[in-house]
Amino acid sequence: MARRQTSELLRTRPTKPARRPEHLTEQRARPPIVEMRRVTKVYPGGHVGLEHVSLRVDRGEFVFLVGPTGCGKTTLIKTLIRELQPTEGEVLIAGRDIASLSDKKVPQLRRRIGTVFQDYKLLPSRNVYDNVAYALQVIGASRSEIRRKVPDALRLVGLADKVKNFPDQLSGGEQQRLSVARAFVNHPPLLLADEPTGNLDPNTSIGIMQVLYRINRTGTTVVVVTHDREMVDKMRRRVIALQDGHVIRDQAAGTYTADDESTREFALRLREEMGVEDEETRY
C-alpha cells in the first residue's frame, strides 16, 4: 500500500537537479517527502512566524516538532499544505516546490497530505461516518470504495461503534481520533498532526499516539506537532525543536527504539514509562 502511494508521489516532477548538484543522484531516486529550504514567513503585521528554517524529513519517518506556544509550529504545518505561502524560501513536498503549484492544483496536494488539526476541523453537519467519507468523496472515490475504506479507518481509531454520532456528541479524544481517521482514510504518504494530544488526558493521548504509531508502521510519514515534552521523550523518535521561528535542535539519533516494536508493545511501554495505568486495550 505504502509503496503504491510513494510511487504516486514520485510522479510529480522533482525540481531541477541543477540546483543541488551534490545530491543529484539521490535526489532523482528518492526526494525526501518534506524539504524546507531557508523558509521565512513574516505575517502582514510584521510578526515573524518562521525564520530561515531548513529541514528534511525522509519517507517513513516519525518526527516530532516541539517548542513553546507561538514558536512557529503551526505556521510550519500551514506552509506544508499551502494554507500559508512562505515569504521567502522553498517548501518541497516529494521533491516538488509547492509554491509553483497553480491554485487549481492545491487541492490535489492537500489530498495527498492527511492533516489532523489542533481544533479537529470536523464538519458539524455530518456524522462520524460521513465526516470520514467526505475525504474520499472529494477525491471522487466510488461508493463501494467508500463503503470499504471508511469502516477500516474508523476501526483503526476505535470509533467503529459511533458511526452515527455527530461531532458535538463526541468527547474531545473521540473528535481527535475522528480527525485522525479522516486524515488517514485515503492512506496519504504524509500525515501531519497539529497538537493531536493538545488538551487530552495522558491515557487518551497515548491512545492517539498509538494510532499515529500504527499509521506510521504502514509506511506513512508522520509529523506530529506537540508541546507534550514527556510524551516526546518517551516515544524516542526524531525531535525537531523550534523556538522563535528557528530550528534550535534536530535530534535524529539518540535512543531510537527498534522499528519492530509492535503497536501494543509500544503502548504498553509508554503507559509504563509515563505511569499511566494500563486499561484494557481500547484501541
Binding site: 499544505i81 487541492p107 492537500r110 476541523k121 470536523l122 453537519s125 467526505y134 475525504a135 472529494v138 461508493r143
Partner: protein, 309 residues
Amino acid sequence: MGRVFFFIGEGMRALRRSAAPGLASIVTVCITVLLLGVLIPVLQTTNGKTNQVRDQVGLRIFINDVNGQQAPADQVDALKAKLAAIPHVKQVTFVSKDAALGILSQRLKQDNRQDITAQLPGSHNPLPASFSVAPDDLSNLPSIRAAITPPGANGQPAPISPLISDIGDSRDDASKISGATTAIRWVLGVVAALLLVASLLLVANTIRLSIYARRREVEVMRLVGATNWFIRWPFMAEGLVCGLIGAAIAIGFLFLGKQVIVDPLANNFNLINSGHTIGFANLALVLVCVAMGVSAMGSGLTLRRFLRI
C-alpha cells in the same frame, strides 16, 4: 450522473441539518417573487392602457358633402389611398355619415339621452363623413398633418384634396396625453427598477448571511482537499431548492389572489381586464426560473470570498 445526485443530496442535507438560514432564504425569495408577480402584470397593464390611449389619438379629417349626400365612393377611395401613402401613417379608417350617426346615438344611449337623435327630422343626417388617421407614433402627428395640408401658392396651408373640409385639431390633446403617458412610464419604470434592485440585494444578503454562518465548514472542506467547484455545487443546489420552494409558495399566493380578488373584478373594471398582460402560466414559469437562478447564482458568487486559497 452519480455526482449530480451527490451534490443535490448534499444540498438537501444542509437544508435538513440547519433549517434556519434556508428558511430565511425561502421567505426572502417568496416575498420577492410575490412583489415581482404583482408588479409585472401591473406594469404591463399600465403600459398597455397608456398605449391604448395613445392609439386613440389621431387626426380626424372631415369630408365635404356633395349635394347634401355623402361623396361618391370612388373619390373617397382615392383620398383614402392618398392618405395611406403619407409616411408614418399606420392606419386610415373611413367613417361614413351613417356610421358617425350610429356612434353618436350609441354614446347618447349610454347616457340615457337617445331622445336627442330621435329628434332628428326624417332621414336628415347632419354629421359629416370622416377619415380617422392613426399615426405609427404620437410624435409623428404634426408631420402627417403638414403632409395633408402642404403650404399652397399663397403660403397658406392648402388641403391635398378639395373633398377635405376640415381637420380635427387634436394637437393639444395629443401633446398632453403624450406627456402624461411618458411621465407615467418613467415613474413606473423607476419604481420597478428600484424594487427589483432592492429585492435582489435582499436575496443576496440573506444568502450571504447563511453562507457566512457556515464559513468554517467551507474552510474545512478546502483543507481536506476539496476543489472549489466540489464545495460550490452543493451550495448552489441548496440555492436552487430554496428558490424553487420560495417561488412555489409565492406563486400559490399569487394564484389565490388572482382567483379571489382579480378575476371577480375583471368583469367590472376595464383596467384589470386588459389583453396586454402575461398569461399566469408564463408568469409563473418566468418567476420560478428567475428565483432559482438568482438564489443559485447568489450562493455561488457569495462563496467566492471563502474559496480563496
